[in-house]
Amino acid sequence: MLEALDLKKQFMKTKAVDGVNLFIEQGEIVGLLGPNGAGKSTTISIISSLLSPTSGDVRFFNESIIKQPQYLRKHLGVVPQEIALYENLTAMENLQFFGKIYRLSSDVMSTKIKEVLEIIGLQEKQHDLVKTFSGGMKRRLNIGVALLHEPKLIFMDEPTVGIDPQSRKYILDTVKRLNREQNLTILYTSHYMEEAEYLCDRIYIMDQGHIIASGNKNEIKGILSAEQTVVIEVETMEETFLNTLKDHPSVRQIDNQDKSVSVIVPREIDFFQTIINIANENGTILKSVQIQPPSLEDVFLHLTGKGLRD
């Protein structure tokens, strides 16, 4: 359906996107993951025709969109990371405005607005000003605007940032339902690895302008098939305990957060006893030690050397 071929984008001396290749098949949910500054938003801007690449091509049903973006735009919905809505208009007025500029006839627009309001669950609030909405409601309307013209393909750039868990679940379920019921093709970027795990059929991981890994969930996790993740919870995190762990020759990767630390070590090693020894030597009181198969987060950490939310 859509493919990006060797995309490059350079701003002055900075290479924001450097040789990105990706494709999206009809009906898929594809995840595009990467830390801040990885080049995700620039890539989305290019493949949604808002930004010209320095080189490379983007093809939608085999037609290049670089000089003729109209066909793609007709079938594309974009949910930007920001709340791109008029705060001083009501939900209905926002939908009507965007319906008009999508050139929907009055009858079609009226039907589509009802449908969209139902999908995003804002029927009761349709005549309220957007500025009175909660963060979650704004996010839902942000998605609703992108659905008005029945797109075949939709780009969602971190659509759940900064909202409560309930709204987040609602949005994730909506995305899943749109894909399942309307065969909507979705490119989804997120900081939340569990969202990608829940939604995506395939995943691209970006870092420093490059795609550094791609495949379905199992293929990605297979990158760490020879390793295991050990999650250690402690009473108080001692610097010496952390440093000793970091310096241990078997530790491939370490990620500490407050009172827990997760380390990636080879699967064949029994690391349990080693942890107890290190804790005793450094006077650290252990609360729990869990050995888990690697998650996508671990893979990400392994590939980029940093957490998704760094």
Binding site: S41, I44, L50, V78, K100, H149, F155
Partner: protein, 418 residues
């Protein structure tokens, strides 16, 4: 689609309480305050003029005309032509016309008090400053004038005018009337000599610059400040629209609009049209309220309407330019500076606060859209027609064109990230 943009802009503006107050309520309040504050200092009507004018004739006009008639009767020309000339001279009495029709005519008799004085009194009158102006009719004025016009002999003579500097306004009025009268004499002379018309001068043909005397409606200070405030506050539409447009870029709404397959130039056009339309609506509301509350009258509606439309277009042009600069700089500084500083400067030079004197400042003021609009509106309120204000209308149209061209050149040709 443009209608959708206009509707959206109007809704945003109406719901933006701060701007709504600034754009519609503030000018009305300011007119109230200014009116109240200076109401006692300025009268509602034009200043009363009581111009005492003395006319000094060195020779009696009647004797001069009789003399020329005798000379013509002795000329060896066909009798018909002779009779025509004598008849024409009998009807043509330039000083009589000046005294009775121009200065003493029904339009001016309440303001001008004409008195004939002898040559010997003239010097005393000058020293004592008894009169606002003294018109000295030189020796054989009518005789020489008739000879010049009818027989083509010699240059037409000129009247002399002494103006009392202590009665500047009255003196100015008389001077304007006299200049207009002499110009009319010259025009009539040329027409007569070239057989293009009858030699006839009436007070209808002579108009001075002073409004009350020229027969146009006077401008009250209320009308002045209604217009002054309206042309000033309409400029805030440009800064507001420029700021709104930048918010659309900042909040990624512009990208969302582009993704909907709307050309950036359609968007750009929507800024121009929405701003022009909103400016026009604002002017209509302000003037409607003023007509209702302040009893402002509007004698020439076409001139008023044309000025409103052209001024609104120039506001649209400025809004487009500010939008382009904001987009180019990726900041709303251009709108902010325009709204906070440039509008005030324009208002000052354009005469929104008080009429500006001095040729240079006055010219500068008329180069501002509000200054140009103010002059055109005031003319419309005085009753002047389209032909009288066409210069200002063309200027506003030109200004619109220039700002639009600049805006198109500056507007970024490619959008940034989503």
């Amino acid at each position: 689609m443009l209608f959708a943009f206009m509707k959206k802009q109007l809704l945003l503006m109406i719901r933006d309480r701060t701007n709504f107050t600034l754009l519609l309520v503030m000018p009305i309040i300011l007119v109230f305050i200014i009116n109240f504050a200076i109401g006692d200092l300025m009268t509602e009507d034009t200043p009363e003029i009581d111009a005492k004018v003395a006319i000094v004739e060195h020779t009696s006009e009647e004797s001069q005309l009789n003399q020329i008639k005798e000379e013509i009767n002795e000329m060896s020309i066909p009798e018909d032509a002779r009779n025509d000339m004598v008849q024409g001279i009998t009807e043509f009495q330039p000083i009589q016309i000046l005294k009775q029709d121009v200065l003493g005519g029904p339009k001016h008799q309440e303001m001008v008090d004409v008195k004939e004085i002898g040559v010997e009194e003239m010097n005393t009158a000058k020293v004592n400053k008894q009169y606002a102006a003294i018109i000295e009719v030189p020796e054989n004025f009518s005789y020489r004038l008739v000879k010049s016009i009818f027989l083509g002999e010699g240059e037409p003579p000129e009247l002399s005018l002494y103006v009392n500097q202590e009665e500047e306004l009255a003196g100015q009025v008389i001077e304007d009337l006299l200049v207009a009268y002499q110009e009319q004499l010259q025009t009539s002379t040329i027409l007569e000599q070239n057989g293009l018309g009858e030699l006839r001068i009436t007070s209808q043909d002579v108009k001075g610059e002073t409004v009350a005397i020229s027969g146009m409606n006077p401008i009250t200070n209320t009308t002045y400040y209604v217009v002054g405030m309206s042309v000033m506050f309409v400029l805030y539409i440009a800064s507001t629209m420029g700021a709104y447009a930048y918010e659309e870029k900042r909040d990624h709404l512009f990208n969302r609009i582009l993704i909907a397959n709307v050309s950036r130039w359609v968007y750009f056009l929507s800024i121009f049209i929405s701003s022009s339309f909103t400016g026009f609506i604002q002017l209509m509301i302000l003037f409607s309220v003023s007509v209702t509350i302040f009893d402002v009258t509007l004698p020439n509606f076409p001139s008023f309407l044309a000025t409103s439309i052209l001024l609104s277009f120039s506001v649209g042009g400025i809004a487009s330019l500010l939008t382009s600069i904001n987009y180019r700089l990726n900041s709303d500084q251009a709108s902010a500076i325009f709204g906070s500083a440039i509008v005030t400067l324009f208002a000052f030079f354009g005469g929104s606060f008080f009429p500006i004197g001095g040729d240079v400042i006055n010219t500068l003021g008329k180069l501002t859209p509000n200054g140009s609009g103010l002059t055109a509106f005031l003319s419309a309120f005085q009753g002047y027609g389209m032909e009288d204000i066409s210069g200002y209308l063309f200027y506003l149209g030109g200004l619109t064109l220039v700002t639009l061209v600049m805006a198109v050149v500056i507007f970024p040709k490619r959008g940034k990230a989503v």
